[in-house]
Amino acid sequence: MSSDVRFTDFKSDKQPTWCPGCGDFGTMNGMMKALANTGNDPDNTFVVAGIGCSGKIGTYMHSYALHGVHGRALPLAAGVKMANPELEVMAAGGDGDGYSIGVGHFIHAVRRNVDMSYIVMDNRIYGLTKGQASPTSREDFETSTTPEGPKQPPVNPLALALSAGATFIAQSFSSDAMRHTEIVQEAVEHDGFGFVNVFSPCVTFNDVDTYDYFRDELVDVGETDHDPTDLEAAQDVILDPEKEYQGVLYQNEQANAYGAEHGLSENMAEIPDGAPEDATDLVREFY
């Protein structure tokens, strides 16, 4: 089936209800293209979505999918992949989902390095709940719950990932369709946890982190001599206080993914109709 899969095969017949102009449209298109370009088809793909405007992606895409509870997409996706290593697993969610309520899982998912991709649709706002500050909101960003701004520095998810031992860190911009698709595709192809922070503007509640802002400010490391396998170079771009970057910022291809490290290769869905053949050995141990 996979040879003639087109990216539209990953599209469901449900029309998105995102606000017109929402960055999530472009983010999702890139994800579907990346999956199709890497030879996957909907029947061997599992998408796990978080809760938020971003989380609706599970409904608009066509594949095996689960739209879970707020903040828990990563462990759920890890469970899917561990149980059936043959599946292509992708988790997606918002900046609140991933860096606030779910940030504990983020750090550990990075460390665990399960072979999957994680796409964060970062709009620096809580979209679904109508415009409260998110962990990536700017220090002075005024919202209904932070009328004077959060007055605390935003988290730097790329730095969190780097410090937790990430093997793939990338950033993209939803409206730069080609680059976004390429970058997500690299995350899918990466043998390990492929993390992409996608700037996916919220046109309704965020008037600072806009299309114009990212178009003007983003530096594409693909157009510089940045070497993603160089840890120090990665640190420099990730911790740069002046500029924001898109592209693959860091990649370590030497580390084993979780499945290889733990010898996981079987599809655990397949079991015998009775107790396993040598299960009586377990009883004997108790003599």
Binding site: P42, V69, V80, A83, M268, P272, Y287
Partner: protein, 587 residues
């Protein structure tokens, strides 16, 4: 009541009490004797004291009693803690050369056997073996063939080399010889042996073994007493059967990983205790609404909050029945014995897959850490049946597609049970969500579809009530006027209490309930009874409340919540007390 013998070793944390107790229990089991052990006990003074108690007989034993025949006391406090249980003719083995034990407070009528445990251990190769010297001394006191101890020592230390095994055997012999050579007491104990083969295991191990037998391939958990043993059992074993254990960063992660594995089609589980089920509550609802099969073992301990982490309680019944917001279809099983921990685990996996919902498998601290002997065929693997429910493949998937050819994971089936296609099945791609959804698994707020999906999920439970057997276990005199009800781990002590009560002329009928939801119909038994007593380890009587609610009667309650399980003799006393002075309960 079996002619039983009661033994304990006690000391401070770090004295190796657990492994000493386990070695002796193993020796008794290998000698063809039945064994029941306990590590939960009341501390009358302060923390730091630890003990391991064994009750043994040639007949089956299912409870500890408040009585000690032989006590190995490593500290003076061990003696003080057990004064009530020592009797005329009890023997205390102690090391009078240990500074704290020079003036060991040996009670009158109790035989104090002063054995230089440490010195003899050093002669055998190392002071660390002093407890084994004490075990050798215990063999002398009980006329127990030391070869059985050898066999347990081989099992315990074999992997660490023959030299260590030989040293330990030597240490045991030195202890035995010391008693035989220097003491002229006539001991009245005689631990006879039989040719029977038994296995010795605890409830957590039985759950772990049951999981592997049932085809569980994925376990995610976060360590918590007293559930950690399940994870430790599976780790290192399940891999041999194609499975995997992962230690998650917290319980939220654990249940979500297990849910993910279950969505991928694996039989998956997690195990935890009270604080963990609280954290899992939100995802528990997600499991139910996405109709995913999942087994969650809740090994209860004293709550609320951190409570008493190493103490017994059955306080989570309401939390398991009602925990989580909204209305969550679920099953709650509560195995009543260690062998049933195995079988109910197998059943839990089948029920979870047949009805596509979360199943609580309840244990408690006393089941989890109690070791008991069984005939090996109590765990006959040929009896294990696997039923995966409505799992569909490429061939029969079409039946469940809509007119557009889309697979419907939440199809409104007559029996409430929708088909399940695991990822990788061609043309089966579908989503599901914790939001209310339609048959395709997509979000809906359509009022009619909402009602249909809720009804469908409830209908599954009704189907299960009809199709499955939710039978209780019954003991005692079926004609008796007094009905005793209990759930979970009180069964063993209660079964032995029946005989003690009968000796006092009190006949009772005892119904032990392993299913909390759905639960058996008890109306007939309740109607036929004059006195109804509900036994459980909590303060309010959560199970008693259910019985009152189901049968519209008032019941008497026998509760215990000091952190220690019921013993058989205690239950007999409390029941006969309750019957003689039974306060009238308003009807």
């Amino acid at each position: 009541m079996p002619a039983d013998f009661n033994w304990a070793v006690g000391g401070e944390a770090g004295d190796g009490i657990d492994s000493t107790g386990k070695i002796f229990a193993q020796a008794l089991s290998r000698a063809g004797r039945h064994v029941f052990t306990s590590k939960d006990f009341a501390s009358r003074i302060r923390g730091g004291y630890t003990a391991y108690k064994i009750r043994t007989s040639v007949d089956r034993v299912q409870s500890v009693v408040n009585r000690l025949d032989v006590l190995i006391a490593l500290t003076p406090r061990t003696i003080e803690e057990n004064l009530d249980e020592l009797h005329d003719g009890s023997v205390i083995i102690y090391d009078g050369e240990r500074t704290t034990m020079e003036d060991a407070p040996i009670p009158e009528d109790v035989v104090g056997l002063d054995v230089p445990l440490k010195r003899l251990a050093e002669e055998a190769g190392g002071a660390i073996m002093r407890n084994v010297v004490a075990l050798g001394a215990a063999c002398a006191v009980t006329d127990f063939p030391i070869e059985n101890l050898d066999s347990a020592l081989e099992k315990r230390f074999g992997a660490k080399g023959q030299k260590l095994v030989e040293n330990n055997k030597d240490a045991a012999r030195k202890g035995k010889a010391h008693v035989e050579d220097t003491d002229d007491h006539e001991f009245k104990y005689d631990l006879e042996t039989t040719d029977n083969d038994y296995v010795l295991l605890n409830g957590d191990e039985a759950i772990g073994m049951g999981a592997i037998a049932a085809g569980c391939r994925y376990y995610a958990g976060y360590p918590i007493t007293p559930a950690t043993d399940v994870m430790e059992y599976l780790k290192g074993r399940i891999e041999g059967y194609g499975g995997h254990v992962v230690q998650a960063e917290d319980e939220l992660s654990a249940i979500n990983m297990a849910l993910g594995a279950a969505r991928a089609g694996a039989r998956a589980m997690t195990a935890t205790s009270g604080p963990g089920i609280d954290l899992m509550a939100e995802t528990f609802g997600l499991v139910a609404t996405t109709e995913t099969p999942l087994v969650i073992a809740n090994i209860m301990r004293s709550g609320p909050s951190t409570g008493m982490p190493t103490k017994q309680e059955q306080g989570d019944l309401n939390a398991m029945l009602h925990g989580g917001h909204g209305e969550i279809p679920r099953f709650v099983l509560a195995p009543t014995t260690i062998d049933e921990c195995f079988w109910k685990t197998v059943e839990a996996f089948n029920l979870a897959e047949k009805y596509q919902l979360p199943v609580y498998l309840t244990g408690d601290l006393s089941l989890a850490v109690t070791e008991q002997t069984f005939e090996p065929d109590a765990f006959d693997m040929d009896e294990v049946e696997i039923d995966r429910g409505k799992l569909v493949d490429e061939e029969n998937l079409a039946e469940w597609q809509n007119e557009k050819g889309q697979f419907q994971p939440h199809a409104l089936a007559d029996d409430g049970v929708s088909p399940r296609a695991v990822p990788g099945t061609d043309d089966g791609a579908h989503m599901t969500t914790g939001l209310e959804h339609d048959e395709l698994g997509r979000r809906t707020e359509d009022t009619e579809m909402r009602v249909k999906q809720v009804d469908k999920r409830d209908r599954k439970v009704e189907t299960a009530k009809q199709r499955e057997s939710w039978q209780p276990r019954e003991f005692g005199d079926a004609e008796a006027d007094t009905l005793i009800l209990s759930w979970g781990s009180n069964e063993g002590a209660m079964v032995e209490a029946i005989e003690m009560l009968a000796d006092d002329g009190i006949d009772v009928r005892f119904i032990s309930v392993p299913y909390i939801f759905p639960r058996p119909e008890l109306d007939d038994a309740i109607d036929a009874a004059e006195d109804i007593l509900v036994v459980e380890c909590n303060s309010t009587g959560q199970f008693a409340d259910l019985i009152e609610h189901d049968a519209l009667v008032r019941v008497n309650r026998i509760n215990k919540y000091n952190g220690v399980r019921f013993t058989a003799d205690e239950l007999a006393d409390r029941i006969s007390g309750a019957l003689t002075e039974a306060p009238e309960v308003p009807q």
